[in-house]
Subunit: 373 residues, 4 copies
Amino acid sequence: MAGSSFGTLFRITTWGESHGRGVGVVVDGCPAGLSLNEEDIQKYLNRRKPGQSNYTTKRQEADVVEILSGVFEGRTTGTPISLIVYNNDQRSKDYSNLMDIYRPGHADYTFDKKYGLRDYRGGGRSSGRETIARVAAGAIACKLLEEMGITVFAYTKSIGGIGITKENFSKEKRDKNALFMPDEKAFEEAKEYVEQLITNGDSAGGIIECQIEGLPVGLGEPVFDKLSANLAKAICSIGAVKGFEIGDGFFATYSSGSMNNDAFVRREDGTIGKATNHSGGVLGGMSDGSTLIFRAGFKPTPSIARKQHTINRQGEETEIIVKGRHDPLIVPRAVVVVETMAACVLFDLLLCNMTARLDRIKDFYVKKDSIQS
Amino acid sequence: MAGSSFGTLFRITTWGESHGRGVGVVVDGCPAGLSLNEEDIQKYLNRRKPGQSNYTTKRQEADVVEILSGVFEGRTTGTPISLIVYNNDQRSKDYSNLMDIYRPGHADYTFDKKYGLRDYRGGGRSSGRETIARVAAGAIACKLLEEMGITVFAYTKSIGGIGITKENFSKEKRDKNALFMPDEKAFEEAKEYVEQLITNGDSAGGIIECQIEGLPVGLGEPVFDKLSANLAKAICSIGAVKGFEIGDGFFATYSSGSMNNDAFVRREDGTIGKATNHSGGVLGGMSDGSTLIFRAGFKPTPSIARKQHTINRQGEETEIIVKGRHDPLIVPRAVVVVETMAACVLFDLLLCNMTARLDRIKDFYVKKDSIQS
Amino acid sequence: MAGSSFGTLFRITTWGESHGRGVGVVVDGCPAGLSLNEEDIQKYLNRRKPGQSNYTTKRQEADVVEILSGVFEGRTTGTPISLIVYNNDQRSKDYSNLMDIYRPGHADYTFDKKYGLRDYRGGGRSSGRETIARVAAGAIACKLLEEMGITVFAYTKSIGGIGITKENFSKEKRDKNALFMPDEKAFEEAKEYVEQLITNGDSAGGIIECQIEGLPVGLGEPVFDKLSANLAKAICSIGAVKGFEIGDGFFATYSSGSMNNDAFVRREDGTIGKATNHSGGVLGGMSDGSTLIFRAGFKPTPSIARKQHTINRQGEETEIIVKGRHDPLIVPRAVVVVETMAACVLFDLLLCNMTARLDRIKDFYVKKDSIQS
Amino acid sequence: MAGSSFGTLFRITTWGESHGRGVGVVVDGCPAGLSLNEEDIQKYLNRRKPGQSNYTTKRQEADVVEILSGVFEGRTTGTPISLIVYNNDQRSKDYSNLMDIYRPGHADYTFDKKYGLRDYRGGGRSSGRETIARVAAGAIACKLLEEMGITVFAYTKSIGGIGITKENFSKEKRDKNALFMPDEKAFEEAKEYVEQLITNGDSAGGIIECQIEGLPVGLGEPVFDKLSANLAKAICSIGAVKGFEIGDGFFATYSSGSMNNDAFVRREDGTIGKATNHSGGVLGGMSDGSTLIFRAGFKPTPSIARKQHTINRQGEETEIIVKGRHDPLIVPRAVVVVETMAACVLFDLLLCNMTARLDRIKDFYVKKDSIQS
């Protein structure tokens, strides 16, 4: 089956392997008229670029994006936007020893069983490089949301259980450290923790939180395409994600109805708000006008610099030391992946929502003077 | 937009409101040749039927399913199976006072803003009765999986933080108590907790875990249609779910690579297994042959028997006491919903997986002698 | 695979067999706020009802539609609309002799080979009764289009080569005769032709033309979801259709560019029009503001009252006389099927088109005051 | 909306404009294990390459395809295959005069109205170059079908009404002349006709027929995804196609049931065949084991070397002479487009068909020894 496409009206289709010619994405359904150039996308890609700190892979990739279609004289035309990022620094021979062996925690075994063969170089299609295509596409979604006054902000909430505190949190601090933790104190602690793991040839996991402001009420479709459901799929489709929660999430299971319900209140400007936001901005699967808040839990990077017990293609037990240049910690580089995937979901649902009411559809066509006899 | 359909090849489309004529589902893509009758489906519906204990709504509904199409002489024909459950016990006037008021924690406000009007009787489309259609469709998926030797088993893992222990856990115990907790001791504690809440006019949340055994390796599609991603969407599309995790889930974020990686081992029968199962049965988004394990976190039922602060349609602050007959605890009745939604995802991916390899496709058509000149 | 759903945003899912409990459809994505009752749908169903003339089956079916969901207090709510028509006059034993035999021109053989079994009563899922569900769903699409000032009008253009002439054509005449031919003279001739065939136990085919007025410019999506392509699929999915053409259709293959191109002209009201309409209202796959015109070619009904040579399930040659009550001519009853299927395509593309331009999306959300912080 | 993707399981997504960086396609859902290299694809592209005769545009494009992903060591891996063809010979200034003017018969006007702006260089996305992506993707489908013993063969059936005759028809002759007409006599006549039109600065249309042999019985899904319906959409989505018919097509509307029904017969090898093939290989929307035959009608190329009356962006009447290098006849180059689009439909339905029967699904998984506990 397919499986490389995501979205209904704003629809992205990604392709590419870690050590092939490159990775890319086709964005179909981007509305016409958005001002767009490579730099708009590049700045998002730069946030996930490897080689930026001790906590990420040493692999050096320029990861320069090219726009191949869909933009004319600086504006999107409504036709599919094809984006490509060529692979440069391919040290494939690092992986030749993996041809016949299954790395624990990786997709080697499952790929081999499913397809009968696999591109064993650097994880192939299951490599983290696959997320380049997501970020490139999502950068466009982010820009579209900005035009609507909607902002998406993700950050590292915790590393190995070392979390930021509400008191120290401030958005401005996020980009000040290599872990993208908007809390200096937590960053210092987490840094130490990670460095210890690196010394031991080990790796860490962590949690990313994302906050979206400015959403209209009603995004998301009842039943299967709930805002929360589509976000859950988008986020859990990112490699290494093992958990997703929205609002109070699993914590809500400890709460009671009287504590967890958010009372509706009348805001000073006459609009409807909520006294609290345990729901995380979603009621009945639709945005409720409050800040949308969700979290993604990432497992520790499976590539570690330690000898591990495993099996080879012939079914024999053996040991492996994974070479190559890997992230001891995938979370910091995943922050922008979470942000951009969320943006794809939100803009898609924003488009879908336009057809919910007949009066607005009529209004849309009549006001636009589009009906001609 | 649509949003009432789910699945790619095994595709379900649900309809119906709480206080309308009934609820139903069309199952398209069910393969021909499955022995199927109403009883096969009814036994799943009976597990979510209201009025079965003190911990669920007193509303009495027979919830009898009828098969309207797609079955001929006791076997599925490959054409769409239409299932209907009529609503019987409709005390709509219980809800007349909700016409103009938004219940905290419910979808009243978001529905009204999105559509400009809503069926205010008992939650309408956002009612828990919507899950009848999921369970009816998923019962068919469960039966199909059984034919493949795959079993899906969900149970209440915790209520308000009171959880079962590994030691006491035993599948046989699940159906022995009204909370579907397969641990008597935990059940006794949880029971007390819930009864206390009921006394206070309050409600509880909890966690459901699901275990699937017998899966072939390789189900799930790389990138967006990962087994974990599709499960996440299915589960988070169930009303009241605020969190989803697979395998060690959020706990994995505290772990390290060396602890979290599951070593591959050779089983006695020569097949490949894993020494541990932190992954929860998924590697690279595909089933890895181990038990698939995931959890869903449910918020406390928002309908509580207490006065709550809120807003009416006119934007004025007011207070509300939600009448009607509600579950102080949605978790027990949701166990079968989780099970059947998981079954839908799994059978769908099982079908999708059949086209992964050219040699098997050729084998399929040649062996079946289907090609005629 | 599925295959019982059609449409992207306005999405219909049909079910039901000829001699089962009934046939039905779920309409998902109908916008909220449309005034709708059973009568709105019934009047379309009545146009395809059997037993209305000598030229259609004697089978008597009331074909009464019931709305099971999605409508509240006379208005659509935005949730799925479930429609059902129960089968009444089921003389299944008429078909018992068909259990083991393949009728020429029918789907008996292909169903049996594909699924390994089939509901042999009256064609089962491949019966013309399947179109009831299309008409019921399309009636809603027609009503939605009316609200937008768009009218869809289909009629019998020819029967067995006997066609109406441009001079005699007048819309008012269509419903004046049993063949729905808006040309009395052609009707008289066709009537004679059909009666002759009936006498001979034979059947006739014909062509239906459809004209749509009032479309905005730009409906349809470039490349695969062209207006013409989606219409072609919709129309060719109707049983017995063997050909589809738009505008001048196959006749255009005899023409030259200088004759076939339609010159753009300025209308008196300042809007842009075309001097001619060889294109049939579609340019580059999008509506061009002129009348949309397409035609569907129907083969003669395969059920004839004559002995035919065929094969049985055991692969033996044999002869068959098809009993049961069949239409000697499917065209008249198919007129409303063509009309309603076209309406489904058009309203779906009308919704899809709303997201084409960023300025209009911004306008939509800002003007509606839907964005709240 | 999107609209640049086609197919369910074998799914292609195209991108690119006439005078942008290039055109390309992502093929998702290609099974693993197919031997594939650039040459396999290039030979199909060469058949649509411009500049090959007097009857096609003089534009010289190498149209060299590159495989960017999805193939490893000469075999497909089951991951998306990204193909790109760069544009070389871009004489964009030929089009500067078209910036503000709407060419009759082209998509200029509809694009402008839909999107508010357009890439006016050479038709942009609506250019015939868009079909490069279809052919590249379809070449893979053709190779997959070959592996299944299925052959797809399209050819020019008529030009401006000058058609080949059954007697003279022979497949071998097709590639012997520039019009791809497998009948020398018809070719000579058509050649003269086209040369006359070229002299007059005019253009011609024509009909392409396609024959597919070796199909298993049962491809296609009842109701909306009929083989005939999906083919109709695929073919009518090709620019300039105005008509589609299958088997006897519109001619069947003149026939009677007794003449049009194909009697089933027992072949010498014991399999079931048909005495005639009026149905064109489709019964009830599914392949019936006979040769699949369909036709596509192409309008004359709208770009002609004559002065034409039209309107500019400002709504003023004006005249235009279309410069640039255009095909006086699109049909010959479209032959391979029809062939490859048909292949995409057929291979997709061949995959979809694998899930029709439970016994075969069980057989598939059990025999493959894929189920592990």
